[in-house]
Symmetry: C2
Subunit: 456 residues, 2 copies
């Protein structure tokens, strides 16, 4: 790292953190409709910030939903073009009373910045923005061409981005896509994602009697929708954690010896995870390790269940309905549409008597893989070595960024998933935070990456 750049980052650190805090103060929650105004505010803030960082053509691309922020700097003819993707929308903050400091009042404690979106994804996106701005400010130009594509619907399955990518494929054309929207392996161990799981999210609605019934008069005589829903949910997995939906594992490739060895060398500390989560045991599909279960194997998780009287005390009713929201993480050749069909069939077969069951698809995305030999992936590895002083590990991640598969297909460009978060930064949970140490190292790493791509 040049002295000049190092000086730039050091002397601007406070200003950078203040600017990031401005961004984090905007509650740009995309779930639901009550934060539409904040979504707009966050998008406009980003366009302004990119402009003042030297980017050109900063604009909001309308999608029919939340806008995508676009900007570019295209003055490196003959050099590769990088498309940097991120998202400015965040998860809801509830339960707010479980946060030690308010979710939208960024607070630094013990070298960590606490706020909703700190690590997912505002903090990580901001690293790219400030690294590129720093290169431009200190050197007057960039060694590559840069485009930005920052969406506001990542937390609601990128509803409108797919169509936008098709429509604006030319504008967004690039040689590689760069995304930082997840955790590194662990503190001090950077990682590059070469696989992501796909997603199939759905809702189950069970309907029984026309209205809630007094359980003293009708109890025992009609099907209870909560019981029917529980039975259906329980029928989808056995007590060894194996999913029992017929055909579910079709297209899942057995883990190769090399894969399993790679998992073993990661030396994952299961006992530490168990302690951190305060559970009496880790639990998952029989025959697989924690890391394999959470990254390379498909899953079925229940996110929401609700039914009956939701007030204080007990109200002895047979409720009229009950519902649940679930999603499957998918791997290899599993296809979300096919999985949805299999679930439909499972429900048809297992539907308890006396109720109606409705199944609704909520989100979907295909699994993703990239070759670790790709030159952009290799450049990222070298950048980490220079920035962190540590070789990255190559990992498959359990999460889903459905848009990754689309980028790779529609732009025909490799996707480089280089993360700066940590696994225990409470993303999607109270007390989300971002380690500032990785913010600092990330700035340097992105500078190295951009230079390596420009002069391999």
């Amino acid at each position: 790292m040049s002295d000049q750049l190092e000086h730039y980052f050091t002397s601007n650190r406070q200003a950078h953190l203040e600017e990031l805090s401005q961004f984090l103060r905007i509650p740009s929650i995309s779930v639901g409709t009550e934060h539409k105004e904040h979504i707009r505010k966050a998008a406009a803030w980003l366009a302004d910030s990119l402009k003042s960082g030297g980017m050109e053509h900063a604009q909001l691309l309308e999608t029919g939903g939340n806008p995508v922020v676009y900007a570019d700097w295209l003055h490196a003819p003959g050099k590769p073009t990088l498309l940097i993707y991120g998202h400015y929308d965040v998860q809801p903050s509830d339960p707010d009373d479980r946060w030690d400091s308010p979710p939208f009042e960024p607070t630094i404690r013990d070298g960590k910045l606490y706020a909703r979106g700190a690590t997912d994804d505002k903090g990580q996106l901001f690293i790219h923005m400030k690294a590129v701005a720093a290169l431009l400010a200190t050197e007057g130009k960039l060694p590559v061409n840069i485009k930005w594509c920052i969406e506001g619907e990542e937390e609601i399955a990128s509803k409108h981005l797919f169509a936008l990518l098709e429509k604006e494929a030319e504008k967004l054309q690039a040689d590689a896509v760069v995304i930082s929207d997840g955790p590194m392996q662990e503190r001090g161990v950077p990682s590059i994602l070469y696989g992501l799981r796909g997603l199939c999210g759905f809702q189950l609605d069970v309907t029984g009697p026309r209205h809630d019934l007094h359980s003293g008069l009708y109890g025992g005589g009609v099907q209870n929708p909560i019981f029917a829903l529980s039975e259906l949910l329980a029928s989808m997995k056995n007590n060894e954690g194996t999913i029992t939906i017929d055909g579910f594992y079709e297209g899942v490739e057995p883990l190769s010896e090399a894969d399993r060895e790679r998992f073993t060398t990661l030396k994952h500390d299961d006992a530490k995870v168990q302690r951190d989560l305060a559970v009496n045991a880790l639990f998952g599909e029989a025959g697989y390790s924690f890391l394999e279960r959470t990254t390379a194997r498909p899953t079925l998780e229940i996110h929401t269940i609700t039914g009956g009287f939701q007030g204080e005390g007990i109200k002895p009713i047979v409720p009229s309905s009950a519902s649940a929201k679930l999603s499957c993480r998918l791997v290899d050749q599993q296809d979300p549409d096919r999985i949805f069909e299999l679930i439909e069939r499972h429900i048809e077969l297992h539907k308890p008597a006396g109720v109606e069951v409705k199944l609704t698809l909520l989100v979907k995305g295909k699994p993703f893989r990239v070759s670790t030999d790709n030159p952009y992936i290799q450049a990222a590895a070298r950048a980490y070595e220079a920035g962190f002083g540590a070789s990255p590990v190559f990992v498959r991640a359990g999460g889903s960024i459905p848009i990754v598969d689309s980028f790779s297909r529609l732009l025909e460009a490799p996707v480089v998933l280089m993360n700066f978060g940590l696994p225990d930064e409470n993303l999607h949970a109270p007390n989300e935070h971002f380690h500032l140490e990785n913010f600092d190292l990330g700035l340097r790493t992105v500078c190295h990456f951009v230079r390596l791509v420009g002069a391999p």
Copy 2:
């Protein structure tokens, strides 16, 4: 019925309905704590109304919870004393948007009075109040002694009444207890309850990870508390509706031939119930009819379930916890404490790996039976014949009035359960109502009953 009494009821009908509407306008909901003021208001209203009906010693007995309204008229020496029980508390009204007229704005449509509490139990209690007041007004005296015991915690399992009955056993001493707090068999067919089911209500709390986790990072690797809860619930009943908690049916007597015949002669219209409830099938314990299942057999029903993200859209988490509220209706020799123990043991045996499960007892009451040969029961039967022009059927009810067993034990008095409601009056549900035809017939029937007890 004397012409004088008939004239009294006819000329006072409008005033009676207006007075009942006043009572129904008070949202005296006992579940939760936000209606404490309305509870007090309803109790005070009752004491005033009893006083203006000629009762003496009207007072609120403090219980540590909601007060019990007491009053008496004891000027018939040598004659039996009747204790009339009722309750002035009501169920919550939610979901309010499912009511065709607001729950606490009584409205008459098609000869029915719509309001929360119309049939359960304000309307039925009010029949007794006005019948006794009418006898006193038209004849200057009563043929029996009367005491009133009207509680404000029936919908929350009569939390403080048990202790009060023990403490005030002498004051409340009576030869028979009269209760109207449920439905008749059907329109035109009055009924006398000779059996009630007991109750054991409890809450299940399943706790997993310290906080909600991102399902993309931890999904598949930790037990999902909603899944664990669903599995536990599903393990308590099989798909034929039989409860699978070991030992649950201990103390349940097989239905006698006579019992089963009595059920058959009731000629219950299952198809009509199915149509009314809009379900594709009735469902319950294999080997029993709908009537047997809902009155003579024990049950296990789930009233509430909740877990995970409760907002709009999908939030892909492994939630930190999930919980459910359930109750069992008990018959014959089943004891709620024993049932709770069996459930504890069941949970210990079936607890899924990776979560903690907490079981909390919420309410309990023993089953109740009375002999149909008892003279007070027989007086009630003759009163129905005179008032309704129809012989009552003797039925066992599915509901629970835990206090009935206590009255019968602590006061050593038979309990006469004579109802004036109808089964489809939506008690505990939106659009609760009371048929005014039965209000009118009830007034006459109670007068007959009081006279028959005074001069058998």
